[in-house]
């Protein structure tokens, strides 16, 4: 994690990829989104999705895990350089999350995050807000998922 001043519009981070196995799709859906097209191949085939499809929240949670793993790597690198990395703040929420194509069993998505803006917070001195466009692409390079995140980041002391 970096300070607010280290974020610049257009900065792009490749977050890595995530594979959605049939078993993982069903596991997530059983807990959080037990609709037939997320639980059963035949029901998925008969639905608008055309196959067993991952819950949209599953697709979003995989982004979160890859983002946290990226952040942990950055913090470890900073410590290896003898720096104490800043602790990131919370997120007030997000906008415009779109599941534009179904994510079907066996598919692998590649995720990336691009900074839209970084600005000082008016309400929280010492903090800024970073807005980013987060996207997931299928193996053919087609965007299937995106949203705009907002995260509080400390300013440089």
């Amino acid at each position: 994690m970096k300070h607010l001043e280290d974020f610049h519009p257009g900065d792009r981070i490749e977050l890595g990829s995530w594979t959605f196995t049939a078993e993982a799709i069903v596991d997530f859906a059983r807990d959080f989104d037990p609709q037939p097209f997320h639980l059963d191949e035949a029901a998925g085939k008969a639905s608008l999705f055309g196959g067993l499809a991952a819950s949209g929240w599953h697709v979003a949670c995989a982004w979160m895990r890859l983002w946290i793993d990226h952040q942990a790597r950055e913090m470890a690198e900073a410590r290896a350089r003898g720096e104490e990395p800043p602790v990131p703040g919370p997120s007030p929420g997000f906008d415009d999350m779109r599941w534009t194509r179904p994510v079907l069993a066996g598919q692998t998505l590649s995720y990336r995050s691009t900074v839209i803006s970084a600005r000082a917070s008016k309400s929280r001195p010492g903090w800024g807000l970073v807005d980013s466009l987060n996207e997931g692409f299928d193996a053919a390079g087609t965007r299937v998922f995106h949203f705009t995140s907002h995260v509080f980041v400390p300013t440089r002391p």
């Binding site: 895990r65 942990a72 415009d96």
Partner: protein, 151 residues
């Protein structure tokens, strides 16, 4: 007799009760370990040192719990066809171990699909509140619901 709710069975202004759900510490930690392994969702001391002042649930956990409550209270009894996305979601207050969340969904707007006969869209407003009535998460989302076939 088709008993599931279809597009025509909803109306603008309708408030749908999504029920209540108590969130335990173990499930907060289990969810965070898998999807959002940040210290304040895993460890009490790290939670105390954070803006929230104590261990609290990942926002994605709260969103996933909303989804489960919506499935149980509404979607499993409706001709749900999925959702194209979330227009806006706000995490308003931390969800702590032992909190009981209550969900409410209001139908803001209804329209039929121009391109797909048989498909309708419900634009909704969701509030998840804790046992003190404080909103912990709000969102605007659109549901796709099948229209009732012409007799």
């Amino acid at each position: 007799m088709e008993t599931r709710r279809h597009f025509e069975d909803f109306h603008v202004g309708e408030v749908i009760d999504l029920g209540s759900r108590t969130v335990e510490r173990d499930e907060i930690v289990a969810f965070a370990s898998r999807w959002d392994p940040q210290p304040m969702h895993l460890d009490e001391a790290a939670g105390r040192a954070s803006m929230a002042g104590g261990l609290f649930a990942s926002g994605w956990h709260t969103a996933s719990l909303f989804m489960r409550m919506a499935c149980d209270a509404l979607l499993s009894r409706s001709a749900s066809l999925g959702a194209p996305g979330i227009e806006h979601l706000a995490w308003k207050a931390p969800v702590r171990p032992g909190d009981t969340l209550t969900g409410r969904m209001t139908v803001r707007e209804m329209r039929t699909s121009a391109s797909r006969a048989g498909l309708g869209f419900l634009a909704t407003e969701v509030v998840m509140a804790n046992q003190r009535g404080e909103p912990v998460m709000t969102m605007r989302t659109t549901l796709m619901i099948a229209r009732r076939a012409e007799a």
